[in-house]
Structure formats: structure tokens, C-alpha cells
């Protein structure tokens, strides 16, 4: 029998990128909040610049919970299991070691259906896609993007402030109310070289936004560009995860209680079908944390899974799933199918970070005419300075040398610093037959079914990926690349850091789990935070959007406390 803990007003499940941000406005409003976090506290002392530990052995993810609950993938009738989970359990979550690229979605991403229909006709929406317009446009989310950018600290170059375009930034972005709070991260010779090549092609290069300090911000250090940001935490607290931004501020209010190593299993409901609290386990001991409001902020897979595991007489198919929408409209960002270039000279990319780069948005979203094309959406092209020695020595030899021995050694010695791989994020859409459910045969150590991914990329993804590879090859060649390799198109949607849907947001409760404010249509005191509520991906990293939505949901809760808390 679970130990029943003292009542609280709000319980948030997961204190990561979304939950860690949402906690602040709630605590600042004087509302008591208990945060149940599966991981523990880490600090900058834990983030040694150690490639073997961080990148090769996946230390950041070698954590209490996630590795025992890795989603399975159903592919052609077979069940595949990934060796590791890409997400991290810790206070601050995966935002401790993420790349920290902090993009706003572009206006088109909120209105894929209506804009595509208006410009090209309804027939251009890919067959089988369940994509909907968001219940609001960018203008509704803009104040929350702005709030989070300034609260945690985002560096970047604005391209559109209240309609005034600035070619140093992204001229394709939607209007923002003001500039970023910090200038962009600095460039390097390599990123400058790529920018010049793009300009010569008539494109519009710009430095991308990052939740990383380009200068001292809010008492925290500027970035040191030391080269271990990728899957590493920051050794000077310049990466603005909730661990060093919103969570300490929320703690100062005295309203936030953080419970670490809390392994949440299910959410309970009362006789009226309202969420009544959360069950969790620590070291084999079961606890029940009652609360007036429950905020589910784990990760896309675990958000869906926790709901599906929380069965009750009122919700026999899982919490808030009486319309069968939990797990639906799942998609993972089509961020594979890369392009790698070989240059005839050293690039000096040994230092830097994935967020220190140059972006092209000319081929993203609907920023170009798709009339003569056979796909919709687009991709963001991103090149950056980031290289470490084991990865460099593990380089492909471009059919110019064997894979070991003296000839290999001579090749690697000469070429270790001469390659670059672009990061190409592309529009991905939800489809009727892509969804998450519970695996019928694989369980975690507590005996609970793990999440199962049933999803493949579709024709639109393949055509778009090829188009974007063409553009990236063109860019690299314009910059002097002598060889190009293209990554293969793999149709399987694996376990990923960019996972969307499963608890989609929308006004129609027949096709969406949460309403426009992020609260469940079927359970009014259950809020859901994270990219699981997003119905489209855009062509850029999801975290800032998830955080802006989380802040908005938290603010809505504060403003409507009596009606939601009951």
C-alpha cells in the first residue's frame, strides 16, 4: 500500500525543459508545487570535457529510469529495442546536455493545412496525414516565446522585429516584439566561410538562436566554446537549462519542493474523473502524492505511456483516452538523411559547439514556391563547429584509404579536421498509421509495459529529404567542398530527442487530447507539457516551443486557479 503524502496544490511530473520552466510562474504566484523528478541533482562539476564518457559511453543518459523504459519499435511485424534512451533523467532534464538551439516556429508551421490549401489546393496535403492547423497562430505564442527567451536567456540575431526585417537575422521568421536578450554566439572562420558561400548563392545565412550565453547574463558566465557542449553539460553554467535558470528562482519562492529519484508510475482519478494525485516509487517504496492539479511533463513517449498505464473505471483505455487519441498523431522529426562534406583544407572545428553555426531558412517551411514540387514543407540547413578526437579518428575514409594500418593512419592524420556534417531538420507530419501504444510483451522492472513506437516516414519525408540534400550539397560545393556524402533515407522512426504528438493540442476533442491551453479535454485539472502537445514540427528544434507552451499553460493555470483546481 502506497504511503499517502501531504496534500499539495500542484504536482508536476518531470522537472526538465518543460516542467522546470512551468514551475516558475506557478511558484511565483504563491501556489505550492511538488516536482517529482526521476533523476538527481547534477552540477557543473559533473560536466567534465570527456568525450569517452559523455559521447562514446552515453554517460549523460546512464540514469536511473529511462534506460529501463526504452520505447520499443515495431517494424514490419518485428519488435526492435534500442540500446539506449536519448533522453536524460535529472533536475533540468535533457536540457542539461542538449544542443540548446532555441528556435521559434515560423508562422507557416501553425497553419500547415489552411496555408497549403490556400496556396496549392487541399490535394497537396499528403494522403493519410492527420495534420491540423494549431488552434492559434504564432501571434498567440509570441509573448510566451519572448518571455522564455528573456527568462532563461537566449542569444541570437533577430530578423524581424515588429515587421522590420533585418538581413543579419532570419528574414523568414515571424514578427517578434523585440530583439533577443543577447547577441548571437560568435562565428568562426568556418562558419564565416559558409556564410559567404550562401550569400554568393543568393541565400540568406544567419547565426541561429541558442539558450547559451553569448555574454554574461543574469549573473551566469558567457560561453567558453570549449567543444564539449554536445552531450555534455556546461562547466560554467552558460547553457541555460532550468537547472540553472527557472528552478533556482522557483525554489527561492519557497513554494517548490523537489523530490528526486521519484519514479512515477500512474496518475489517479477521483470519483468525478478528476486527477487526484500521482503514484511513484523510490527504492521500492510506493508513495501517493495527492494534488489539486497534475501537470504531466515527462517526455513525449512517457507522457503517452503514463496516461495509457493510468487506467480506471472512468478511463478504461487510459487516462484522458476515452476518445482514443492518446498516442495518436505521433511523429519524430525527420532529422536524419544528412550530408557530409570533405574539404581540401583544415577547418579548425576542434572547438565550438553545435549551437555555434550558420543557418539557412530559404528552403524551410513554405519559404519557397512548391507549385512544381511533389512535397510540402521544407528544411533548415545548419552547419556548425564541433569536433572531438575519437569521433574525428573514426571518420569515414571516403574510399581513399583502407580502414586500418599505415595508409589509414596517414589518411586520418591528414583529414581529421577536414570534414563537416550538416544538421538538416525537416518538416514532419503526423499520419493516421503512425502512433504510440503500450508494448504488449516488454515491461520495465516494475512490470509496467514500455511505450511502443509504430511509425515510419512517408513519401513526403523522402522527397523533401532528397530536395534538402541537394540544397546542402550545393551549399557545401559553393564553399569549396571536394567530396560529398549523403546519408541514406531510413524509413524507421526510431527513439529520438525530437518526438512529437501523442497528446496533441487542439480545439476538437475528437482528434486532440489537450485543449488550446494544454489541459486535457477529458480531465480538466490535468495539464500536459512538452512537445507531445505539438501537432507540427516545423524545421527546427522543439525545445523553445515546448517551453513557451509550458509557460503559457502554467500562466493559464495561475489565472484560472479556482476553476481548474476546483
Amino acid at each position: 500500500m502506497a504511503t499517502r503524502l501531504k496534500d499539495t496544490e500542484v504536482v508536476v511530473i518531470g522537472l526538465g525543459a518543460a516542467g522546470g520552466v512551468a514551475a516558475l510562474p506557478i511558484a511565483q504566484a504563491g501556489i505550492d508545487i511538488v516536482a517529482l523528478e526521476a533523476g538527481t541533482w547534477l552540477s557543473k562539476r559533473d560536466f567534465a570535457p570527456d568525450e569517452l564518457r559523455n559521447n562514446v559511453r552515453d554517460w549523460p543518459q546512464a540514469v536511473q529510469k529511462a534506460q529501463h523504459e526504452i520505447p520499443t519499435q515495431r517494424v514490419l511485424g518485428a519488435t526492435l529495442r534500442s540500446p539506449s534512451h536519448p533522453m536524460m533523467n535529472a533536475v533540468g532534464g535533457t536540457a542539461l546536455h542538449y544542443w540548446a538551439q532555441s528556435w521559434r516556429l515560423n508562422p507557416w508551421d501553425f497553419k500547415v493545412v489552411s496555408e497549403t490549401t490556400k496556396r496549392y489546393g487541399a490535394s497537396r496535403i499528403p494522403k493519410g496525414s492527420t495534420v491540423e492547423d494549431w488552434p492559434f497562430g504564432l501571434d498567440e505564442l509570441e509573448p510566451y516565446y519572448d518571455r522564455v527567451e528573456h527568462e532563461i536567456g537566449v542569444s541570437g540575431q533577430a530578423g524581424n522585429v515588429r515587421g522590420a526585417l533585418d538581413r543579419r537575422g532570419n528574414i523568414f521568421e515571424g514578427a517578434r516584439s523585440r530583439a533577443y536578450p543577447m547577441p548571437p554566439l560568435r562565428g568562426t572562420d568556418f562558419t564565416d566561410m559558409m556564410a559567404s558561400a550562401a550569400t554568393a548563392l543568393g541565400w540568406h545565412p544567419f547565426p541561429g538562436p541558442a539558450a547559451i550565453n553569448s555574454r554574461t547574463y543574469d549573473g551566469r558566465s558567457a560561453c567558453m566554446y570549449h567543444g564539449f557542449c554536445n552531450k555534455g553539460g556546461c562547466h560554467v553554467d552558460a547553457k541555460n537549462s532550468p537547472l540553472v535558470t527557472t528552478i533556482p528562482k522557483a525554489q527561492k519562492t519557497g513554494r517548490l519542493q523537489v523530490v528526486t529519484r521519484a519514479h512515477v508510475t500512474t496518475i489517479d482519478v477521483d470519483r468525478n474523473g478528476r486527477a487526484s494525485g500521482v503514484n511513484y516509487v523510490t527504492d521500492g517504496v510506493e508513495y501517493f502524492q495527492p494534488a489539486k492539479v497534475v501537470l504531466l511533463a515527462t517526455y513525449t513517449y512517457e507522457n503517452a505511456r503514463t496516461l495509457l498505464l493510468s487506467k480506471s473505471p472512468a478511463f478504461p483505455k487510459g487516462l484522458s483516452n476515452n476518445h482514443g487519441q492518446v498516442g495518436r498523431h505521433y511523429f519524430s522529426h525527420n532529422q536524419g538523411v544528412g550530408v557530409t562534406a570533405l574539404f581540401p583544407k583544415n577547418l579548425n572545428n576542434w572547438y565550438g559547439l553545435p549551437a555555434q553555426g550558420m543557418a539557412i531558412d530559404d528552403w524551410a517551411d513554405d519559404n519557397f514556391d512548391h507549385s512544381g514540387l511533389d512535397f510540402i514543407g521544407g528544411g533548415n540547413l545548419w552547419v556548425y563547429s564541433d569536433r572531438r578526437p575519437i569521433a574525428a579518428a573514426s571518420m569515414d575514409t571516403w574510399k581513399k584509404a583502407p580502414s586500418w594500418g599505415s595508409a589509414w593512419k596517414a589518411f586520418v592524420r591528414e583529414h581529421a579536421d577536414r570534414t563537416n556534417t550538416a544538421y538538416l531538420q525537416k518538416t514532419t507530419l503526423p499520419y493516421e498509421d503512425n502512433y504510440l501504444d503500450l508494448d504488449p510483451s516488454v515491461t520495465d522492472p516494475l512490470g509496467n509495459a514500455v511505450c511502443r513506437i509504430n511509425a515510419t516516414y512517408k513519401d513526403n519525408d523522402f522527397k523533401l529529404a532528397t530536395f534538402i540534400q541537394d540544397k546542402m550539397e550545393q551549399w557545401y560545393r559553393a564553399a569549396g567542398a571536394i567530396e560529398i556524402q549523403r546519408g541514406p533515407f531510413i524509413p524507421v522512426m526510431g527513439v529520438t530527442t525530437h518526438a512529437y504528438g501523442g497528446t496533441r493540442m487542439g480545439d476538437n476533442r475528437e482528434t486532440n487530447v489537450v485543449n488550446r491551453w494544454g489541459f486535457a479535454h477529458e480531465v480538466p485539472n490535468l495539464g500536459i507539457l512538452g512537445a507531445s502537445v505539438m501537432g507540427t514540427s516545423g524545421a527546427r528544434n522543439p525545445t523553445l516551443t515546448a517551453q513557451a507552451l509550458a509557460w503559457r499553460t502554467a500562466e493559464h493555470l495561475v489565472k484560472n486557479w479556482k476553476s481548474i483546481a476546483g
Partner: protein, 219 residues
Amino acid sequence: MISRRELLKRAGIAGAAVVVAPAAASEAAEAAAQTPAAAAIAREPLEALTAAEADILEAVCARLIPTDDSGPGAKEARAAHYIDRALAGFLAPSRQAYAAGLAAIDKAAMDARGVPFAKLAAADQDAVLHSVEATPFFALVRTHTIQGTFCDPFYGGNANFVGWDLIGYPGVRTIVTPNEQRMGVTLKPNHKSAYEYAMFTKASASREPSHGGHDGDPT
């Protein structure tokens, strides 16, 4: 006149200097060659492998990333030491694969030449390795040899930073200036392990599902 290759061979571990500063190569190598202590590399105490297994592994590593004109290789980096130590820890699940894989390589040498792998001439060792190139164990040992040659020296490999010097990696820094990210600049190698910086906790990569030692609220 003694060849550069021969010099390097004699110089052994100190041959790293050749890669660090090519202009000073012969001078450095010559100085090293005159130091008797540098002539031989002593094997560290074994933590997982048997002495016979370690002999084979040392020889395999030395052919995968050979000591040659382009400088020291896996032997000087002590990649085999890295692997042995890791097999007693993080790579323990691969211990059986090493027992079987090393035995198979030795058997291939005996079958082909009637001589244990470690006793074969380099060219014959290469021929044996070519015959097992497609095996999963070869891919495994290649991966681990690269790790052992290019990892942080904290893990027992990349001794004297010979791996990092080989590919021109200028080393672990905690602050990098704009100038250090320019093309064409020559950066002085920073021969430091991450854990020589006092600011970092020596957290090891464990297979155990815990970050360890960080429980509890810091406030």
C-alpha cells in the same frame, strides 16, 4: 645515416614529439633516442586479460594503428592497456568476445604460418588480420583501439597524448578564444587530461543505472 623511421622506432614513446612539431622532428627524436628509458615500453599490470591474451592484443593494436613514418601509433598510446582496463570495468560485457576473438586470431596465425600471432612479422600479421577483417570481433577491437588511442589519458590510453598529437587535436581547454577558432592558426597542443582541471568531479562511466553521489537536494 639512420633513417627517420628507424629513429622513430628507437624513440618509441617520445616519438610523439615528431607529430607535435614536425619542424623539430629529427631533433626531438634524436634526443629521445639517446634516452635509454624511452627505448622500451613496459606493460602495465593486467586487469582483465591473461598475459597470453595481452600479447596478441598488443600485436593486433600495433598493426591497426602502426608505429610508422607518420609517428607513434596504438602501441605507444597504450591502446591495449586501455582495453584491458576497460574489460575489467565498462567493457566487461565484451570480455568473452575478447577471449574468443583473440584466440581465433592466434589460431588463424598458427594455421597459416605455424607461429603465434604475436611472433609473426608485421606483413604476416597484416595478412592474418585481413583474413578476419569481416568478423564482428575485428570491428570491436578496431573500435576499442581507436578509443584507446584517442581517448582522454584518464582511461589508460592515449599515453603522452600521442593520439591527439597524431590528428592535430590541440587538446582539452576550458576556455577557447576567438583566435583559437580561426583557420590556419597553429595551436600549441594542450597536453592535459580533463581531470587535471580541479574543477571536475572524477565521475566514471559506469553501466550501473545511477549517476552516483549526487542524490539529495543541494539547497
